[in-house]
C-alpha cells in the first residue's frame, strides 16, 4: 500500500511536468489553431540556455531562470509566432504541422552540432533527501515538482478566469470573430498565448532536466508524451491537459512497477489509442462541430 501511494505521488510529479507541456499544446491550439510538434525542443532549448547562463556567464540559477524566461519569450514566443506561425497558419494546419516537425529536427541538429551531442548535468532546485511521513517516504524533488507545477497551473487558471486579459484570451479561444467585434485585440491575445507557452516550457525544463539530463534529444520523449496527454485530456480544454498529463505519469509508474518497466514507455500510446477510439474529443474535451 505504501509503495502504491509512493508510486502515485511520484507519477503525479512526473505527470505534472507533462501537463505543463500539454498545457502549452492546448493553449496554442485554442488561441491560434497551432499544433507545435517542436514543443519538446521548446523544453530542450531553455535547458541549454540556463546551463549557458549558469556555467559560462557564472550566474546563479534563479537569475539564469529569469533571463531564460526572457530569451524564451523573445525566441520561442514572439519570433516563433512571427517567423513561422503567422506566415503559415493562413494556409491551414497541415503546413504548420510539417513546419514545426522540421523546426524540431533543425533545432536538435543545431544544438547537437553547435553545442554538444553529449548529455550535460543539471542540478535540481530542490534538495536531495526524503520526506518521511510514517512509512511513506517521498523525495523532496517529487514534492517540490508537484508543488511548483501545481502553483504554476493554478496561477495560470486564475489568470485566465479572473483577469480581464485572461478572459479576453478565452474569448479569442472560443470565437475569434466575436472577440474582434467586442473590441478585443485578437493579435495581442494570441501573442500572449505564445509568450505563456514559452514560459511554461522554461519551467518544465527547470523541473525535468535534472532527471532527463540536458541533451539535444531530451525533448523527443517529453514532447510526444505531452501531445498524447493533451489528446487524452481533451485538446480544447486546459483542464484536460492537466488530467491527461497526470494520468500518463501515474499509469506509467504503476505499469513499470507492477507489470514491467519494459512496458512503461508504451502506456501513453495505449491510452492515447483507447481515447481516440472511444472518446475522440478527449476525457474532458468538448465536441466541436465543423461546417463542411
Amino acid at each position: 500500500m505504501v509503495d502504491l501511494v509512493q508510486l502515485i505521488i511520484s507519477g503525479t510529479a512526473t505527470g505534472a511536468i507533462y501537463a505543463l507541456c500539454a498545457l502549452g499544446f492546448t493553449l496554442l491550439w485554442q488561441a491560434s489553431g497551432t499544433i507545435n510538434f517542436a514543443q519538446g525542443e521548446f523544453v530542450m532549448v531553455p535547458a541549454f540556455l540556463m546551463l549557458f547562463f549558469i556555467n559560462t556567464a557564472g550566474l546563479p540559477l534563479w537569475v539564469a531562470f529569469l533571463l531564460t524566461c526572457l530569451v524564451a519569450m523573445i525566441l520561442l514566443g514572439y519570433t516563433f509566432k512571427r517567423a513561422m506561425v503567422d506566415p503559415l497558419i493562413r494556409h491551414g494546419v497541415i503546413p504548420l504541422v510539417i513546419a514545426t516537425l522540421g523546426l524540431s529536427i533543425g533545432v536538435k541538429q543545431l544544438v547537437k552540432a553547435g553545442v554538444t551531442a553529449q548529455a550535460q548535468p543539471f542540478n535540481s532546485i530542490f534538495p536531495d533527501g526524503l520526506l518521511s511521513l510514517g512509512a511513506l517516504r517521498v523525495s523532496y524533488m517529487d514534492v517540490g515538482t508537484l508543488v511548483l507545477a501545481g502553483l504554476i497551473v493554478i496561477s495560470l487558471q486564475m489568470f485566465l478566469n479572473r483577469t480581464v486579459t485572461g478572459r479576453a484570451m478565452q474569448a479569442v479561444a472560443q470565437n475569434t470573430d466575436s472577440a474582434r467585434v467586442l473590441g478585443i485585440n485578437v493579435a495581442r491575445m494570441v501573442l500572449y498565448t505564445f509568450l505563456i507557452n514559452a514560459v511554461l516550457s522554461v519551467v518544465a525544463a527547470l523541473l525535468v532536466t535534472p532527471t532527463y539530463l540536458a541533451k539535444f534529444d531530451m525533448g523527443e520523449s517529453i514532447g510526444l508524451k505531452a501531445f498524447y496527454a493533451a489528446i487524452i485530456g481533451g485538446f480544447n480544454q486546459t483542464r484536460g491537459a492537466l488530467l491527461g498529463g497526470v494520468l500518463v505519469g501515474v499509469l506509467e509508474n504503476l505499469t513499470g512497477a507492477y507489470i514491467s518497466p519494459a512496458y512503461k514507455e508504451g502506456v501513453a500510446l495505449m491510452l492515447f489509442l483507447v481515447v481516440i477510439i472511444f472518446k475522440p474529443e478527449g476525457l474532458l474535451g468538448r465536441t466541436e462541430e465543423r461546417k463542411v
Binding site: A117, A119, G129, S139, L213, G256
Partner: protein, 382 residues
C-alpha cells in the same frame, strides 16, 4: 623501334614510382565511433583517445617511418549506419579500423571488415563479439565473461550478499552482461532476486529502482550505458536506496560521475582501465589527455589510446603494413608497457582476439574514483 620500346618502360616506371609514392604516404586508419546518439559519451571518449595516440605517434615519427592519417566517422550509435560506414572504411582501404564502441553496432559492422580482411578493434564488451570465429576482431577491453566472475567473487567475499537485483539495458551489451553475470552469480551461490530490463536511452528509472527495492535484494547490480547509469544512480539516491550499488566499468566512468553528481558516491565497480590507477604510464596518460581535451578521460578514452599503441607495436613487430599479417601476429601476442608505455598495462591477446591484463576495483568517493584493489590477470602474463 627504340621509341616504342620506351613507352612501356616509361609506363612501368610510372607504376613503380606511384607504388613507391603510395608506400611512403600516410597510413589510413578509420574510426567508426558514436559521436552522437545514445553512445555519444563512449564514442567521443574513444575517438579522443585514438586521436591523442595518433598525435603522439606522428610526432615521434609515425609507424615504420610513415605518419598515420586518422579519419573518424559518426555511426550515430545506429548499427545500420555503422555497417554502411564500415563499408566506406573498406573502400578507403583502411589498414586498421577502430570501433564501433557499442557492441550492437560492432556485431553488425564487423562483417564488412572481416570480408575485407582488415583488423578491427572494438571497445564493446559483449561476450558474443569474439565467439563468432572472426579472425580480424580484437578487443580494447575485457569481455564480459572475463569481467563478471571477478565481480561475482567480490560480491560474495566482500559484500557478502546472498541475493542481487540486476538492472540491465536491453541491447547486445546489456543482454550479454546480464547473462554472464547471472551465470557468475549462480556459480558463487548467489540468487538473482530481481531481473529488471530497461531501454537504451531511458530517461526515467523510477519504476526500475522501485522494482529493485521491492525485491529486497542485498545489493543491486547495474549494467547500463553511461548516461543511463547516471540517471539510474540519481534515481537510486532520490528514492533513498541504502544498499550497495555495484556495476562494471560503465557505472563509475568519469562522465557518469559528472552527470550523476553526488548520487555516484558509494557506487562500486570493476573497471578494466581507470585514470585513477597508480601505474605511472596511466598517470602520464591522464595528464596528457587533460592537457589536450580539458577534461578527464573515462575508460573509453583509454581503450582508444591503448588500442592505437597496440597497432603501432604489432606493425613494428611484423615490420610491414600488411593487414593479414597484422591479424595473425596479434593472436597470442603479449605487449609490455615497458616497451610501449602507450598500451598502459602489460596485455596479452588470445586466439579469439580477447585480451587479458590487470584490472581494478573502484569506489566513487567525494566525486572521484578511488582504486580499492588491483586484481591480477586471469592467467599470468608470460
Amino acid at each position: 623501334m627504340k621509341k616504342f620500346d620506351l613507352i612501356p618502360a616509361a609506363l612501368l616506371g610510372l607504376v613503380v614510382a606511384t607504388g613507391c609514392f603510395a608506400q611512403q604516404g600516410p597510413i589510413p586508419i578509420v574510426g567508426l565511433v558514436e559521436l552522437s546518439g545514445t553512445g555519444a559519451t563512449a564514442g567521443t571518449n574513444f575517438d579522443n583517445g585514438v586521436k591523442l595516440a595518433v598525435k603522439e605517434i606522428n610526432a615521434a615519427g609515425g609507424i615504420l617511418g610513415r605518419k598515420i592519417q586518422y579519419t573518424s566517422m559518426d555511426t550515430q550509435s545506429a548499427p545500420q549506419t555503422a555497417k554502411a560506414l564500415a563499408q566506406k572504411a573498406v573502400d578507403e582501404k583502411a589498414y586498421v579500423v577502430m570501433g564501433p564502441v557499442f557492441s550492437g553496432s560492432f556485431i553488425v559492422s564487423m562483417a564488412e571488415t572481416k570480408r575485407a580482411e582488415i583488423p578491427n578493434f572494438t571497445g564493446g564488451e559483449a561476450a558474443n563479439i569474439t565467439q563468432q570465429g572472426n579472425p580480424y576482431v580484437f578487443r580494447t577491453s575485457f569481455t564480459q565473461t572475463t569481467a563478471m566472475p571477478k565481480l561475482a567473487r567480490y560480491i560474495k567475499d566482500t559484500v557478502k550478499a546472498k541475493t542481487v537485483a540486476i538492472v540491465w539495458v536491453n541491447n547486445d551489451f546489456g543482454k550479454g552482461g546480464r547473462d554472464s553475470m547471472t551465470k557468475a552469480l549462480e556459480a558463487q551461490g548467489i540468487k538473482v532476486a530481481a531481473d529488471v530490463s530497461t531501454d537504451p536511452g531511458q530517461v526515467d528509472f523510477s519504476a526500475a529502482v522501485l522494482k529493485v527495492k521491492q525485491s529486497n535484494a542485498d545489493a543491486a547490480f547495474v549494467y547500463t550505458n553511461e548516461e543511463e547509469s547516471a540517471r539510474a544512480l540519481r534515481e537510486f539516491k532520490k528514492q533513498g536506496y541504502d544498499k550497495p550499488i555495484i556495476g562494471e566499468t560503465t557505472l563509475t566512468g568519469q562522465k557518469v560521475i559528472e552527470l550523476a553528481g553526488d548520487a555516484a558516491n558509494g557506487a562500486v565497480a570493476h573497471v578494466g582501465l581507470t585514470v585513477d590507477a597508480p601505474q605511472p604510464q596511466i598517470k602520464a596518460f591522464d595528464q596528457k589527455f587533460q592537457a589536450e581535451y580539458k577534461y578527464k578521460s573515462d575508460h573509453n578514452g583509454m581503450k582508444g589510446y591503448s588500442g592505437m599503441y597496440v597497432v603501432k607495436a604489432i606493425t613494428e613487430k611484423i615490420g610491414k603494413l600488411d593487414s593479414k599479417e597484422f591479424a595473425k601476429a596479434l593472436h597470442g601476442a603479449t605487449i609490455r608497457a615497458k616497451d610501449y608505455p602507450g598500451v598502459l598495462l602489460d596485455v596479452h591477446f588470445d586466439a579469439n582476439g580477447d585480451l587479458d591484463r590487470e584490472s581494478f576495483l573502484v569506489k566513487v568517493e567525494g566525486g572521484k574514483q578511488v582504486v580499492t584493489a588491483t586484481l591480477p590477470p586471469v592467467s599470468p602474463i608470460q
